[in-house]
Subunit: 467 residues, 3 copies
């Protein structure tokens, strides 16, 4: 059974206060403005296949931990792309997972999983070799029932709005199907992630740009029309609810190049002739162009830099992308963001949400930048830092310089559907614990704390993402 | 009303001990060895004009936070240098500030302001739209009374000594006037900050060097005489109490160049012909020359590196320097300081105080360096880190390697006069909390803690700054 | 007297739990898989000379702190290598140390020293000028007694196994003597540290490689035979118990060069003709070669990067190496380790233990890498971070991503024999405090914590080092 006071401060007065603050926010609806759930789930509303397919096979947090202890991902059902075979017996996968569940001690994955086991499936024992089958049978049985289909869970999770992430070449057919289905229980929106058509290093970049032309009816090999094609697709995405764009570049570099130079780089990129530096410059320039379009159309711009993708070439060859081998690297923002900020950063119509995988920049770079520029806000603790300690450090390292009101609430950023309520719950608890500590150490008045708690949980995210 | 136990540990025994330690140090005089108050205040002893001019207009901590939320600084009275107009109605400025006071929740600015409101002006309500006028009228009324003039506040603040910061071209006339006034209530000293005449990138560098020649009667275009001019001005500053120099370079780079090379760089700098790297090298070389002069004349050398000044060119064009857009950058010290340290770093007659805006260097670089070299001491948590969390991290990340006795007490480093007692109070509370935690976790004996508390508050700063 | 609850959480329930967990592990045997004690001590079993020679003269943690306060190391008996004289009166050294013992307030050295004074020598007063002679006489008296000889202390310290560190040119005669002596009280093993014969920048590199040839009977100027010579020496070291190799490079760079290129670099290195970058590349390539040999022979590979050795050239000239002037520098692992990891990193037969002096990489690089690659494990908090705060940060910054089971227990890594039980005790206490905090905040079940505590103390280190 989960401890109802988990993640709260230990000292009794602070714990009482955290508990009271948590009561204010624990039942507020979930706003999930950025994530990677599959819109097809909500469109088709088919049952999730089985416990292993729900909790293990698609979750790189889970299988990378077992991989790190010498268990090959294919034994956990992770598909091979090189012709190798993977385990297909879901019960065998589940048992292997259960045997190794002790590896998750002290990790947020453990917390998310147990939250889902208890709150979604009513399972209060501990998963292990002896309970593996009991868990499997019970979850499998549940999944066959209508109240465990995606839309039912969506409503039960009290999700007010969720954003998925699609690229400009996506026709958004699942989003269309959701809208046309007449479902009133949930608001599912898209977000514009143009990496495949702005990143010269993306596989198939030139073809992607060509497809963008085909979709928009423009000659996207012409730089001006290429920019117009973005404008058209952004407008199309806005029809399906998009309020934001998202950019997952390797660095936070921005550029504001003269048009001739940008055009030349773009043409070079289409030929696959860019150097690594030129590709980075083009991506950086496109961030500034996207910011200009954001001023026009109001889409909020999210920057998610600093991941070294597919670090292991062995794993990339065997299993492809998104298998837990994306590793954060040192990322700097101060000089990197300056071209964009000097171009448009003082415009209060622009809203940029900055994320980081490099916690050293919180006090040094991000809080000072967001605490000065009207266009900048701080995204929440992200990915590896989406954890109790990571969230605590985030508040401790950003609040004093940037305050609460330059932050944007929580993002779950997940593909793991059942972890959504768990993740939001962790964020609410950690924020309440932080606020309780501020109050009990005389840094915030007790009567202000509930308002801040509600802002951090619900109001700031709606305002920041224009929802 | 401020919580009298603010910033103390929550656990009762640790809180009791912190309270007892704080009683030992809370009334010790303030030693303020580095800061940016205006000596003219103490010289002329004129009343501060009004609440907005005292608390809002000159304080970039305050107006940058409102700027970050889309309120243009000119609406807060911050002067335009580009011909634009700024708000001049102080009551309007104050109301705008009060309406947005909630933005400072969780920030040290909130704590400093409320400390001043309560302790200096006796105001115990919370500032907000509904209390804005009440605050304004009361403070405005106070400021007209003699006991709120600068010298009276200085004495009431229990300041034993305060240093201001002047450049070599300053004639120190306010300091002269203070001395000649016969005021016995306070010791105001200067500090030697030669950036305008050692930094080739400083605006007007060559002219500044020329003026230095005019002041000293030396041919400062000659490198030897240029160095002598520094010696003369240092001696002059020492007459007005200076015990330290201060250097605000972009990096911590030092050099110890052969004389011919230094001379050539200097001549190139006078012509404005230095590359960025050469300018950095010359600044770095001058740090070593300054260290040599410090061995001669005993001035303590302070290094404050790592700020990217005037990050927004828009703001620089509109409002000029010091408007909250100086952003910290990654700074490294280990190789950077080596030329200076190899030249003079083992000389116990030399005292260098190192500051940082990059907290990652505390455990990795600064504590190991200061814990080995006899010439090095660690300055306190600075600027963005002059906050409860910043100060806690500072102690947690420096004490284990450098101990307490390679640190130098607290600097307020402020222009905001009324924040001085508040800032020192925060430092004393955080240090007492840290010591109480060490004692209650068996890392320091209870009978030693009061002595350490007094050292951190009063003795170390006097010793380190030779006051 | 030491506080029996030292380093435990303050809140009563968490403290009780930490105490209970500590009782589970406090008396488990010490496994010391990496360190720098002198095998001669265990071979000859001669008395330690006197208190100053035991606690002050060989311990750079101790004399660097006094040096940082202006006391020249020669006054503490640290040998000059430049013909200068050093203090030889051990009582005078001890008194100087005692007078300055207050400098260690808040440092781990203070804790280690007091643990040794109390637990090894029964001294419960505080060391200071007034107790200096009493301490000296008592310790000196003890050291003459058989129960204070190295082997007796080894047994009393409850050390199950200790590794020393030797280079490939060492004949391991002390290890041989230990084995031949028939001593059954302790297991002393060696570890293979090939820096002198793999680092082109190591003093005497070419001669060292030549000696390696003489020892192995191979032509080590030939690259193939040079590699074979390593294989032979590794086999020889394994005879004396070695289960690991150790590599103390300046950076974490690895390379996997084509053979022709490696051969050419090696030949250039032998001629002393490598550039700094080429030397670094060769060292990096040799890490990959060592990893390949590890797959063959099972030795665990330790990487200890990121120390700028002998930072002060003055100190190097006066006193030589290892006098407290090795300073950590920023270190990056993600791109640096990639050549090695792409060559052999997915092989579960390979075990690499990564250390760092740059704590910023814990959450950003090391935990994500170790939480994915089967070959990687995280070494404990090292050197400057081998302290209560350092260990706490280590757990807080690695557990959430890498879990407990990608860590390897504690290393004391020390030359200071009497500090070994103290250091292991600190690690056990900090781990129990961390686990108690996880349990009381609902992140770990109470019934799991004792098992994890035993794993962190005893099981993981034995498994990771294959002991």
């Amino acid at each position: 059974m989960l401890d109802t006071d988990r993640l709260f401060p230990l000292e009794p007065k602070a714990r009482d206060l955290a508990r009271a603050l948590y009561r204010e926010v624990s039942r507020l609806p979930i706003i999930s403005p950025h994530g990677h759930t599959d819109p097809r789930w909500y469109a088709e509303n088919e049952p999730f296949p089985d416990p292993a397919q729900l909790f293990v096979v698609p979750d790189h947090y889970v299988f990378r931990m077992l991989c790190s202890q010498g268990i090959p991902p294919e034994k956990l059902g992770v598909a091979r792309i090189d012709g190798g075979t993977s385990e297909t017996d879901s019960r065998a996968i589940w048992r292997l997972f259960a045997e190794n569940f002790y590896l998750f001690r002290g990790t947020p994955s453990r917390g998310w999983l147990e939250h889902a086991f208890e709150h979604v499936f009513g399972l209060t024992k501990r998963l292990g070799p002896d309970t593996a089958d009991e868990f499997y049978d019970h979850i499998d049985d549940c999944l066959k029932r209508p109240e465990f289909r995606p839309r039912a869970l969506f409503e039960r999770f009290n999700i007010e709005v969720i954003a998925t992430t699609e690229d400009p070449l996506d026709d958004l057919k699942w989003h269309r199907q959701i809208r046309e289905s007449g479902w009133t229980g949930g608001r599912v929106i898209t977000a514009y992630r143009p990496d495949p058509v702005v990143d010269p290093d993306f596989e198939g970049f030139a073809e992607n740009v060509e497809k963008l032309g085909a979709i928009t009816g423009l000659d996207t090999t012409n730089y001006d029309q290429y920019l117009d094609a973005h404008r058209m697709r952004r407008a199309y995405f806005r029809k399906f609810g998009a309020t934001s764009t998202d950019h997952g570049h390797a660095t936070a570099r921005t550029e504001d190049l003269p048009k001739a130079e940008a055009t030349a780089l773009f043409e070079k990129a289409l030929k696959g002739a860019c150097s690594a530096d030129e590709a980075d410059a083009f991506r950086g320039h496109m961030l500034t162009e996207m910011a200009r379009m954001s001023i026009e159309d109001g889409l909020v711009l999210q920057i998610h830099p600093g991941s070294f993708r597919n670090h292991s070439s062995t794993m990339m060859a065997r299993h492809g992308r998104n298998v837990g081998f994306d590793i954060p690297v040192q990322t700097s923002y101060v000089e990197a963001l300056r071209p964009l900020l000097n171009a448009v950063g003082m415009d209060p119509a622009l809203s940029i949400i900055l994320f980081t995988l490099d916690e050293t920049v919180y006090t040094r770079e991000l809080a000072p930048l967001a605490g000065a520029y009207p266009s900048l806000k701080l995204g929440p603790a992200w990915w590896f830092h989406d954890s109790p300690e990571g969230m605590r450090r985030y508040r401790e390292m950003t609040t004093e310089t940037a305050g609460f009101y330059n932050t944007v609430g929580f993002n779950d950023d997940t593909r793991a559907f059942c972890s959504i309520p768990a993740r939001h719950d962790v964020a609410r608890r950690v924020d309440c614990a932080y606020l309780a500590t501020l109050v009990t150490t005389g840094r915030l008045d007790e009567d202000e704390a509930p308002e801040v708690a509600r802002d951090l949980t619900y109001n700031l995210v709606k305002r920041a993402y224009r929802l």
